[in-house]
């Protein structure tokens, strides 16, 4: 097979960072090529170089043997390169169809809106990527937004498809659908380049795998030959423990009790319907579900960021349904929100200021309303140390940190508040295996310390390996709550689609 795309010894530097420091890659016509690597290894940078968003400082990119130099994404698009970015490149205020056709709209001077919608509809039917062309993107779940991104690329008839961590936000079923599309494209001879942290799916879909570490490509191996352990070690450069072991534990008193809770979002749509459950001390309750089925709203409502439209939330036997978020924090609820950049951190603030964000009115951060800069700084230094946040400089702005380290910073802050309840929404989204390992260990340590944990995740494996019990949400309702030790991927996956297996089956898990 001939090379469609070659990357030869490419370098890209940012101030103080060698993001790509000698990268070689070769994507052959009609293959699915995966790129693996830790957070910050330089994968996204490489893809942005190929798609014209960045230009290499040194090295060469060749397309079908000819060297190319893209001054802007416009040129790359013309050359047939389509990219789905890790952080979505969508315009929330516009419709799905607007987003998809943007830059190549039907019409002359006038924008033929209806034609665009029809074309998008046809396209989405062809690839079985169902989405309403007239919906506004801001109303879509993350999974649907992913579809829009892919349709955007397909609309332009890309000759090379690049996907940067496309499955991070998908359910197993959705991921499988995506892989079908990729196989379809491959069959038509369109090469696909895709990034993932998930070793299993990479092995299942890719023909070849390139591993990056610290800005360099360290190996390219045929997918069939690579074992997960081998790949993980290549990525991290050391031995990685892939399996967490969770010692059995008897849960204590009820910490959080949710009764018939209903929640409407800011647009007044009912997102959580009549949900009831309990979380006990020393227990992890996992909430599984396809993205957009009310999990985030549920977590927000418990944290007080969304008002309950019905029902009751009790924490440590006290009704907190009407309390403002600050008061809930004070009583011992910690919250790792889904969107770390928008909710969890103030990117323009230093790490010290971010550390004090939630507890500024208490020592060590302040006394009688007056900030205590030195103790706060010392406290933050300890935090960075204990949770291995890099760089370990409390005066750096949160915006300077990589996504993984931002997440660690939030977790560090929330965990060290010594809460009775931790709500964690997708705490490992987009993190590499090393970072995930660390965060899982932290969650289990909290469980060990007798805290109650509500874990919302789209990663079934994460839910299955960490939870004591699993609640599955569909369409705003809890379909079922099952004990984790007996649950299987298939069972949960089925519940996630809203299909309730016969009562008896769920009721007799001990058979297994």
């Amino acid at each position: 097979m001939s090379s469609f795309l070659e990357v030869v010894d490419v370098h890209k530097y940012f101030p103080g960072v060698k993001a790509n420091d000698g990268v070689n890659l070769d994507v052959r016509a009609g293959e699915v090529h995966a790129v693996l690597g830790e957070n910050g290894a330089g994968k996204s940078t490489l893809m942005k170089l190929i798609s014209g968003l960045y230009q290499p400082d040194a090295g060469e990119i060749r397309l079908e043997g000819r060297p190319v130099r893209f001054g802007s994404p416009r040129n790359a698009i013309r050359a047939g390169i389509g990219m789905v970015h890790q952080h979505f490149m969508l315009i929330p205020a516009l419709t799905v169809a607007d987003n998809i056709v943007l830059g190549d709209e039907p019409g002359g001077i006038r924008y033929k809106r209806r034609t665009a919608a029809a074309q998008v509809r046809a396209l989405s039917q062809k690839y079985r990527l169902e989405v309403d062309p007239l919906a506004r993107v801001e109303q879509l779940s993350v999974g649907l937004q992913q579809r829009v991104e892919i349709l955007k690329v397909l609309y332009r008839r890309a000759r090379l498809l690049i996907l940067d961590e496309p499955t991070a936000v998908l359910t197993p079923q959705e991921a499988e659908e995506l892989f079908q599309v990729l196989r379809h494209l491959k069959a038509q001879g369109t090469p696909v380049l895709f990034i993932s942290h998930k070793l299993d799916e990479v092995r299942a879909v890719a023909d070849r795998i390139t591993v990056m570490r610290a800005g360099r490509t360290v190996a390219t191996v045929p997918a069939a030959d690579a074992s997960p352990q081998e790949l993980a070690n290549l990525m991290v450069g050391r031995e990685v423990v892939l399996r967490v072991n969770k010692p059995p534990r008897t849960p204590g008193d009820v910490v959080l009790s949710v009764r018939n809770l209903s929640v409407t979002d800011a647009e007044r749509r009912l997102r959580v319907r009549d949900v009831s459950f309990e979380v006990r001390a020393g227990e992890i309750l996992g909430i599984a579900g396809v993205d957009g089925n009310g999990q985030t709203e549920l977590a927000d409502a418990i944290a007080g960021l969304l008002p309950a439209s019905g029902g009751q939330v009790a924490f440590l036997s006290q009704d907190i349904t009407r309390l403002p978020p600050g008061e809930r924090t004070r009583r011992g609820i910690a919250y790792v929100p889904q969107d770390r950049q928008r909710d969890g951190l103030v990117l323009d603030f230093t790490l010290v200021e971010n550390a004090m964000l939630r507890d500024v009115s208490h020592p060590p951060f302040s006394r009688r309303g007056i900030l205590q800069h030195r103790p706060a700084r010392a406290y933050t230094e300890r935090l960075l140390e204990a949770f291995d946040v890099r760089p370990r400089d409390p005066d750096r702005h949160a915006g300077d940190l990589s996504g993984g380290n931002q997440q660690k910073m939030i977790l560090a802050r929330e965990v060290s508040r010594d809460p009775s309840l931790l709500i964690a929404v997708q705490p490992t989204r987009g993190l590499d295996v090393g970072a995930i390992e660390g965060i899982h260990r932290q969650l289990l340590r909290l469980r060990e310390a007798g805290k109650a944990i509500l874990l919302v995740s789209l990663e079934l494996d994460e839910i299955l390996s960490l939870s004591d019990r699993i609640a599955v949400m569909h369409h705003g309702q809890v379909v079922d709550i099952v004990p984790a030790e007996t649950a299987t991927r298939e069972q949960i996956g089925l519940l996630m689609t809203g299909t309730r297996v016969g009562e008896s089956e769920v009721a007799q898990p001990s058979n297994r």
Partner: protein, 300 residues
């Protein structure tokens, strides 16, 4: 109420709407493209001054209009260059442009024409009389009708053309627009400069549309009211127009109600009070384009 049935009230309303609606729509173009523009006042002054100056020098009000609009566009282009290319703080720049333009127009007026003001024989733009539309339209500047056309055209342009879609896209998320192959900078320049020309046209209206002279500070804060109208109108041309209309109406009402014993100072508050009431009572939240005011500097 007889005040409300007096056609002059409505004629005044329309006449007072034009110099607000044009810059408000101008601001809308700029901000839809993602560049916060509080320089309408200054750009209007440029348009007003050069409108008169060129009308006098060339002897043609239409050439005055063209040059007034071009000079406003030129100032907007300099503003745009600093805001876009240099990623400078757009609010600071806007204030700078306002101060600069008010100084420059006063300075030029005094050095070129003297303290008496611009020559009285400067030709103005024509008034248009459409008596069959009623007395309200019996004596209005030709620019009133131009404004109606601009409201409709701007709406069509922003919401029904391909460039309009692209301009809105760069104002919402320039990075996404860039990855979709759009030229973010060029679109932003277009938005700011077209917007500047519309603001300048508002200035031209004041100086040679309904009058034929320029005076120091003759915009009298209308550029800032237009800013409010733009926000009030939720960053849409039609909304901007309606907000300007409300403002024009209440100003005209304030004039009409004078002379019945109430202090003219108190009556002058009407437009401002009404605006606050309308804003808190009916209109509520208005959200700017998501990337409004955020410079986009691609790393390449």
């Amino acid at each position: 109420m007889s005040v409300l049935t007096n056609p002059q009230l409505w004629a005044s309303t329309l006449a007072m709407t034009v110099p607000l609606a044009l810059p408000a729509i101008g601001g809308t173009f700029s901000e839809r493209a993602g560049v916060v523009n509080i320089a309408m006042e200054g750009i209007m002054l440029m348009g007003a001054f050069f409108g008169v100056a060129f009308s006098y020098w060339t002897g043609s009000a239409w050439l005055g209009l063209v040059f007034g609009v071009l000079m406003g566009g030129l100032l907007a282009a300099v503003f745009a260059w600093a805001a876009i290319r240099l990623a400078a703080d757009q609010v600071v720049l806007g204030m700078a442009v306002n101060i600069f333009a008010s100084g420059l127009t006063a300075f030029l007026l005094n050095t070129l024409f003297g303290y008496e003001g611009t020559p009285p024989d400067t030709p103005p733009l024509p008034f248009v009389s459409l008596p069959w539309l009623g007395p309200v339209f019996s004596h209005q500047s030709v620019l009133l009708y131009v404004m109606f056309a601009i409201v409709a055209l701007s709406h069509w342009f922003l919401f029904h053309t391909r460039i309009g879609l692209r301009i809105r896209a760069v104002g919402e998320n320039p990075l996404a627009a860039d990855t979709a192959g759009l030229n973010v900078w060029r679109l932003r320049y277009a938005g700011v400069i077209v917007g500047g020309m519309l603001s300048a046209l508002g200035g031209v209206y004041l100086s040679i549309g309904i009058l034929n002279s320029f005076d120091v500070g003759m915009t009298n804060g209308r550029g800032f009211i237009a800013l409010a109208a733009m926000i009030f109108g939720k960053w849409t041309p039609v909304g901007s127009f309606l907000a300007s209309l409300l403002f024009g109406f209440s100003t005209a009402l304030g004039i009409a109600l004078q002379g019945q014993g109430v202090s003219p100072d108190l009556l002058s508050m009407i437009p401002y009070v009404l605006t606050i009431l309308a804003l808190t009572g009916l209109v509520g939240r208005s959200t700017p384009p998501a990337a409004d005011g955020i410079p986009y500097t691609p790393i390449r």
